[in-house]
């Protein structure tokens, strides 16, 4: 999952007429037209998923991609996006579902819904009561990726298992020389800090936010960069040694590091204090031109073999319990992709924030980064 990387989002914006959405084929056409307009994250679907769907149903897929939640949120809030299926992160979904952006799903058209993981569906109800507007697609965690060789040199141990590696000035100062990066994603990073500080209530307490801000400010001198994309390559090439990041990105860094000319070891850990957990969902905009085809597409995505093939390609855990036997063995056994039950109990779904609190978080983040 590529979340919230403003520069790339800008690029997308400039290339594809920002904000003013869609104008895609089918905005005005009748629902009978045999097309479904899908708007998904980049690199977030299986290699043959679309072709398989077209072969099976005869519905043509018009496929379009984005790389930030902000982009899809702005398009949907502007209205008449022309899309039939979108993949917002649950926190964004919750905010938009409240103002009627999404169509309530018709379960009678989604027989495969029974394949979904009840535990994840239950956690999703915090965002989407009764799972009315969306199906969970993929999920993951925010944790720490690190280079065990360099960490051994800096700390005398090659194991990191706590947020203290990033947020405790005593430890972070030792790691500063080999390089720490932190996601440039205010809400995700503050959630991690709050878990470290033990304030996981998410009750939007501004004093707790100030405490979290102070905690990040204390380690600010030891953070080399606030970055949501380039740190993957930096970690994989040994340019930095510790990254607060999403598991998917860290698995990419691990794969790249392993296949480099001089291999670089990268590990991902969900810290023992717990970690934020995110879900990406699939939903249908209320003004979707082809709602029937959109339901057919969602149902197809909940087919165990289909979603397992997608997971195998993009290396993210899906939310489909029945798909597990079809997921590659090395992924199933990897606790950084599919954590065991004990670890899953320590994951905290990211919360949807109120407008005022979200503004306060973003403002605090700017203060941490720029000192203003």
């Amino acid at each position: 999952m590529r979340r919230r990387f403003p520069p790339l989002a800008v690029v997308n914006c400039l290339l594809a007429a920002c904000g003013q959405g869609g104008d895609d084929a089918g905005t005005e056409s009748a629902a009978e037209e045999n097309v479904v307009n899908v708007y998904n994250w980049t690199d977030y679907i299986g290699r043959s998923t679309i072709a398989d769907f077209e072969a099976k149903t005869g519905i043509k897929v018009v496929y379009d991609t984005y790389d930030s939640n902000e982009l899809v949120e702005t398009k949907l809030l502007t209205g008449r996006s022309g899309y039939d299926v979108v993949f917002p992160t649950a926190t964004i979904l919750a905010r938009m579902a409240r103002v009627g952006v999404f169509l309530p799903l018709d379960r009678s058209k989604l027989p495969n819904h029974a394949n979904l993981d009840p535990e994840i569906l239950e956690r999703m109800t915090g965002f989407d009561p009764a799972n009315r507007h969306a199906i969970p697609y993929m999920w993951g965690t925010t944790g720490i990726g690190y280079n065990p060789v360099q960490v051994q040199k800096a700390l005398g141990t090659d194991m990191i298992d706590s947020w203290a590696a990033v947020f405790d000035p005593a430890i972070a100062s030792k790691l500063a020389a080999c390089g720490i990066t932190v996601l440039d994603a205010p809400e995700d990073t503050f959630e991690a800090v709050e878990i470290w500080l033990g304030n996981v209530s998410y009750n939007e307490d501004l004093d707790e936010l100030a405490e979290a801000e102070a905690a990040v400010a204390r380690v600010r001198p030891y953070v080399r960069a606030f970055d949501s994309s380039q740190h993957v390559e930096m970690l994989a090439s040994g340019g930095i040694c510790v990254s607060l990041s999403w598991n998917g990105l860290m698995l990419q860094a691990r794969d790249r590091g392993a296949s480099a000319a001089t291999p670089v070891a990268v590990r991902f850990v969900i810290p023992r204090e717990g970690a934020p957990m995110w879900f990406d969902t699939a939903a249908i905009p209320a003004d979707a031109p082809h709602p029937d085809n959109a339901h057919a597409f969602l149902n197809f995505l909940m087919d165990p073999q289909v979603i397992a093939a997608i997971s195998n390609d993009i290396r993210y855990a899906n939310a489909n319990a029945a798909s597990l036997p079809f997921v590659a063995q090395d992924m199933r056994d990897d606790p950084s992709i599919y954590p065991d039950a004990e670890m899953r109990a320590r994951l905290h779904p990211s919360a949807t924030r109120s407008q005022d609190y979200s503004r306060a978080v973003n403002r605090a983040w700017t203060r941490v980064k720029t000192g203003q």
Partner: protein, 324 residues
């Protein structure tokens, strides 16, 4: 000035033959002519592509944020039959005053743009001078070289700078291979990289107007100055610079104005502490989803830019008038 061709002739024909004859005579009596129509085109263009978007943004900037589609409250609402309520809120503008972030970002953007403009001028003037004074056969080629980068996407060129400046990029690898440095110099995500990006991207906009101005310069004036014993440096500052001032101003405007609102280059090349108003605007719009405050930021930026330019143009106009 000659009569505007084609359109003017067409109008003449309509005047002579068409049923519009009476009307057009009436218009002409009031001082309208084909020329009015021709000059109306740019005004129409401005109204359509500047004034209209400006009014829309202005409207959003005085509304209040709400979670809805679109995410702001309508200004005009029907309360009951016959009663229309108009809500105009200046809270967004007051909000910009409350938080020092905004005026600091404005100042920082203006400073960044001003420094970039000066660097562009210092590099661009000798370039333009060199091109204008080179043999006529070379000039077109040199000008072509100035414009050649436009054939590639602006974004790709900025991305190329990432490859050049990063820790294991072209420059650092070269310096390390030569043994000049042991540790890579951190250049990417610094102000240095941001200035390189801005100056690189906007340099052609400085060179082209300067070239036009310098090329028109009457060489015999410099010869006369030399004959009268003026040294080249003094002649440059007393003759060349004043006579090419229009080019300098045009070039500086073309660099300064877009550089103030620049967002892409600081985002890709600048450091996390580079505080630019374009970035603040982005964050208001996309991260805070607060279209009204984002619109207010944009409107204020427009006035911060437009008013000094208008004052300047006025004084320029008066000076020109005085010279006549």
């Amino acid at each position: 000035m000659s009569k505007p061709f084609l359109l003017g002739e067409l109008l003449a024909w309509i005047r002579a033959h068409g049923p519009w004859r009476w009307a057009s005579q009436g218009l002409r009596a009031r001082g309208y002519s084909g020329r009015t129509l021709v000059t109306a085109v740019p005004y129409l263009w401005l109204a359509l592509f500047f004034l209209l978007p400006f009014l829309i943004v202005l409207k959003i900037s005085v509304s209040e944020m709400q979670l809805a589609m679109p995410p702001y409250q309508p200004l005009v609402s029907w309360i009951s039959d016959g009663v229309i309520a108009l809500r105009i809120s200046f809270e967004n503008y007051l909000f910009l005053l409350e938080d020092s972030l905004y005026w600091k970002s404005y100042l920082n953007s203006i400073r960044t743009a001003a420094i970039s403009t000066v660097i562009c001028l210092l590099i661009g003037y000798p370039m333009a001078y060199g091109i204008a004074r080179s043999p006529a056969a070379w000039r077109n080629l040199l000008l072509l070289l100035v414009m050649l980068p436009f054939w590639t996407s602006f974004l790709l060129r900025v991305y190329a700078w990432i490859g050049i400046l990063k820790n294991n990029g072209v420059i650092n690898n070269l310096l390390m291979a030569l043994g000049i440095i042991d540790e890579p110099i951190v250049m990417l995500q610094t102000n240095f990289a941001m200035y390189i990006g801005i100056v690189y991207s906007y340099l052609p906009f400085m060179v082209l107007p300067l070239y036009t101005a310098i090329e028109k310069l009457d060489q015999s004036l410099l010869e006369a100055a030399a004959n009268l014993g003026c040294r080249p440096v003094k002649a440059f500052f007393r003759i060349t610079v004043p006579l090419t001032m229009t080019g300098i101003i045009a070039g500086c405007m073309l660099v300064f104005i877009p550089a103030v609102g620049e967002f892409v280059i600081p985002a890709l090349l600048g450091g996390p502490d580079s505080l630019m108003i374009g970035r603040v605007l982005w964050e208001e719009f996309f991260n805070n989803r607060d279209w009204p405050v984002a619109s207010a930021v944009a409107i204020v930026m427009l006035f911060v830019l437009v008013i000094p330019i208008m004052i300047y143009q006025r004084s320029q106009g008066q000076q020109l008038g005085a010279h006549r």
